[in-house]
């Protein structure tokens, strides 16, 4: 079915309006429905942003090979789902993210808001914890229970610091 308004695009949005006791149906394409205010177009998704960014980026191959040593997320996986795997990804993918962050948030990509009382002083410790937890998950998965128990103790010890 073609859009009733422009008669060009396929009608993908079907609206039943009830006014003056009558049901009125309209069949519109996305653009015409949006122009009508009947649907609100979701803002550009991060995937679209990423794809267009990557296309404009010269070192595509380089980026594709990047992956995070802490959580194992590869850049391609990030591109696919739009979600990062751990705090360290912001470091590993920093080059690719910079352009993306500027597009989403504007040119100024430095945090100027609230800072937690214990601030960024613990970043190193946090990365270490992240690594230990990853090793633990790996040990459990490959059924190395002795190793897992040791790692669990080390994590506990570390958390106390």
């Amino acid at each position: 079915m073609l859009c009733q308004r422009c008669n060009k695009n396929e009608a993908t949005i079907h609206i039943t309006e009830v006014s003056d006791g009558e049901h009125r149906e309209s069949h519109l394409c996305e653009q015409c429905a949006e122009a009508d205010g009947a649907v609100v177009k979701t803002p550009t998704t991060i995937n679209q942003l990423l794809s267009s960014f990557i296309m404009a980026h010269s070192g595509v191959a380089e980026l594709a090979e990047l992956s995070c040593p802490e959580c194992g997320l590869s850049f391609l996986e990030f591109r696919q789902h739009g979600l990062l795997g751990c705090a360290n990804d912001y470091e590993v993918f920093t080059q690719a993210l910079e352009g993306l962050l500027a597009r989403v948030h504007g040119e100024d990509t430095h945090h100027v808001g609230k800072v937690p009382a214990r601030g960024g002083t613990q970043q190193k410790r946090n990365m270490k914890l992240l690594r230990l937890r990853r090793e633990l998950a790996g040990a459990v998965e490959s059924e190395e229970y002795e190793n897992a128990a040791q790692l669990r103790d080390r994590i506990k010890e570390f958390e106390k610091q």
Binding site: S19, D36, G82, A87, L101, H110, H111, L130
Partner: protein, 351 residues
């Protein structure tokens, strides 16, 4: 069903007492936080998710909040309870429909709620009636301080609070207002609003946030930018520029409609009133549409004898999960249509 009592009352954020309550339904400020030392959720295994859930549940119950927080395990909750929380804007639809260890907690007034293991480990939310962004920010800021005293957040001095999605990084703040804009919708001007909002790095969404339709002429406007501006700047821009501009546009449009087509506006409102007072069965789409037309008539003082609070409550409690919770049983679409019409008749007919 555990949440039947919740379904029976109106959230205090819905009581039409707030500033600009005719157009601004509610103000919300949400913060995204992650625990340091754990991967973000997409890279957490089952055990890690359980650990995070359990840790945050314990911390939540020990927090010295002004109002105590009630914890709900979303993974184990009945679908109708999950749905009710979505309808009340206490959790996202995404959170209700996900799998795995996850939870939420809310205060009795529903002005504070938190989600555990949604897209980020922790999402804190403050909700206020009308245009009250400053209060909502202060509330959620305090809550954030309480949590932060007990745990390390993933944070970098350059990029701020680190979030699973880079669109939230920095302040992790999402400021949003729920607006009722029947005038702009009726006169076909929503497109202009959506376009200029986008130019200002704002998102315009439907009744239940991301990916939902603008049912009943309700629109959620929220910030996109979370990095490079402070929380205060973002709130102030919203309070002093964004919202007043849209509200003014809606008001002017309503005045113009009244000046040029008063009979048309009246006809819509009174027909809506008639249909709502007499319908024997009604779908949720139709009731949203008619309640919206009646609400505009009431806020323009063209229809008297109906309180704004009554209408706001009807919007909330005619939703599917609310109807079923109030009746305390699962109902088919047809049964819901009958129950919805009956409930609306009771509320809108004197005696």
């Amino acid at each position: 069903m555990k949440l039947t009592e919740l379904a029976k009352r109106a959230g205090s954020w819905l009581q039409g007492e707030g500033p600009l309550a005719g157009i601004v339904i509610s103000s919300r400020v949400r913060l995204a936080r992650n625990l340091a030392g754990y991967p973000f959720l997409s890279r957490c295994d089952h055990q890690q998710k359980l650990e995070i859930q359990e840790f945050l549940r314990q911390q939540t119950s020990a927090l010295a909040t002004a109002e105590p927080l009630e914890y709900i395990n979303i993974d184990e909750a009945e679908e109708l309870d999950q749905q009710l929380l979505v309808e009340r804007h206490l959790i996202s639809r995404q959170h209700a429909e996900a799998n795995g260890a996850r939870g939420m907690a809310y205060s009795a007034s529903e002005k504070i709620s938190i989600m555990i293991n949604e897209e980020d480990h922790l999402r804190l939310q403050a909700l206020q009636p009308g245009l009250r962004l400053e209060e909502a920010w202060q509330e959620v800021d305090r809550l954030d301080d309480l949590f932060e005293a007990k745990m390390g957040y993933a944070f970098s001095s350059r990029l701020g609070y680190l979030t699973a999605c880079p669109t939230n990084v920095g302040t992790g703040i999402r400021v949003s207002v729920m607006l009722h804009l029947p005038g702009l919708r009726m006169s076909g001007q929503m497109e202009k609003v959506v376009r200029s909002a986008r130019d200002m790095r704002l998102a315009v969404r439907g009744l239940h946030g991301e990916g939902t339709e603008a049912a009943g002429d309700f629109y959620q406007v929220s910030n996109q930018r979370t990095l490079g501006a402070s929380e205060q700047q973002i709130i102030e821009e919203f309070k002093n520029q964004v919202v007043p501009k849209i509200v003014d546009y809606e008001q002017k449009t309503r005045e113009k409609l009244l000046a040029e087509h008063a009979h048309f506006v009246d006809d819509k409102a009174f027909r809506a009133m008639g249909a709502l007072q007499n319908a024997r069965t009604i779908s949720s789409e139709e009731s949203l549409e008619l309640l919206s037309q009646l609400r505009m008539g009431v806020t323009l003082a063209r229809v008297s004898g109906v309180k704004l609070d009554t209408l706001n409550e009807l919007f909330l409690r005619t939703q599917p999960a609310h109807l079923q919770q109030i009746e305390n049983r699962l109902m088919s679409t047809e049964e819901r249509g009958l129950a919805r019409a009956k409930y609306i008749r009771q509320e809108l007919n004197p005696n």
